[in-house]
Symmetry: C2
Subunit: 206 residues, 2 copies
DNA sequence: AAACAATTTAAACACTTGTTTAAAACAAAA
DNA sequence: TTTTGTTTTAAACAAGTGTTTAAATTGTTT
């Protein structure tokens, strides 16, 4: 009768928090239920299993992360500016959701991690024409000849690693966890300068 | 009487393989025992617990990884060449042990991951004088003014991420897992060029 | 040979895991 | 109020967890 959407949503929200923090294998159904303030059986009543619940959440997190990058690629700014803004938005997104990079990586490295449907999202990105734009810039000589895979890897490395390696860096370099965000602000500038300088060939043949 | 070192070593070796592949929470004591071809109880007979066993292995892996970088820092090559060789050795090491970066990161992000003793190793690195050398180069104007933390983060990002994100990249970009190493060879060149060009200021004021 | 201590084993321990069951509580319709 | 269907609950399920125990096996020393 009365569909209590609140309970289902409460579980889903609690599950997202717990999964992001501990990963799939790192938490139990009961932990999720407790975090939601509900009974264990309700997790399987609303979602069929712990795995199905995780699948829903992971897919949504994945899409959220990937669609963030679509917006600016469609604009008609110069390629270099597009890239700069993209990196800026990527850092802004990761500052809000610093757990996501490791969460995704962790799941992708799980032995029985399910295959996810990224083709739909990747083709959306492809439809913005960003990839052709890069190839044309390379042909025109304004951009260094790096493979698309290389470009993407360079960007992801320098954007995602600093966030997922927070604990490692803080222990290794004896840094204060509270002031690590300040570090990240500096690093964003480093990364932006370095990547753009490397990607784009400035005309110095005066 | 006769100390059968073989059994203890067999378990340790099997445990290292399993831990590297699945992580601490991702495997069971019995799985380790089976991989070693031994009884479950022997794991706790030789090592006091699963946790103690992991602690030993993690510490050794951590030291192995960090001491790799010490050798070349002591040489008297120019700083730029030192860096180039360091990146080269780092990539060579990671090609041999591609699971290590994620293994370490995963453990550092575990909620009850134990604090490790890195100060001893870090001070060894510090003793090579590499950090002072960088600061002097920055003062002399041959090196860009980036914080030490920034430099280390840039290097680690670009060396470690491509290895730990193999599964992610392959799924995302629809790459063949078997030919990913080829990608890594290309990437090593990109990374080396990019980092050195960014770190060091070439004298173009002719 | 017997005695001894180190090693290995199968079995059990108490506990947690994901999931299911069957009864209770609830709200709305008859 | 009774009926009906949905939601929630406590309890149980079988399987798996790390760890311990106590007996069996082994090798070495006397």
């Amino acid at each position: 009768m009365k569909r209590d959407i609140s309970t289902s949503a409460k579980i889903k929200e609690a599950a997202k928090n717990v999964f992001l923090l501990k990963g799939f294998s790192g938490c139990s159904s009961r932990e999720i239920a407790n975090a939601a303030g509900e009974n264990v059986a309700l997790v399987n009543y609303y979602f069929r299993s712990k795995g199905k619940l995780f699948e829903q959440i992971f897919q949504s997190v994945m899409e959220e992360s990937l669609t963030t990058m679509i917006v600016e690629f469609g604009s008609d700014l110069p390629l270099r500016e597009k890239m700069r803004i993209f990196i800026k938005h990527e850092y802004a997104f990761l500052k809000k959701h610093p757990e996501i990079p490791f969460f995704i990586l962790n799941e992708m490295n799980r032995e029985d991690g399910f295959v996810l449907d990224t083709k739909a999202i990747m083709s959306k990105i492809s439809e913005t024409g960003i990839f052709e734009e890069i190839l044309q810039a390379q042909k025109a000589g304004t951009m260094r000849e790096i493979s698309l895979v290389g470009i993407i890897t360079l960007i992801m490395s320098n954007c995602q690693f600093p966030f997922m390696a927070k604990n490692l860096m803080c222990q290794l370099l004896d840094l204060n966890k509270e002031e690590y965000p300040t570090n990240l602000d500096n690093h964003e500038q480093y990364v932006t300068d370095m990547l753009l300088d490397y990607f784009f060939i400035t005309n110095t043949n005066k």
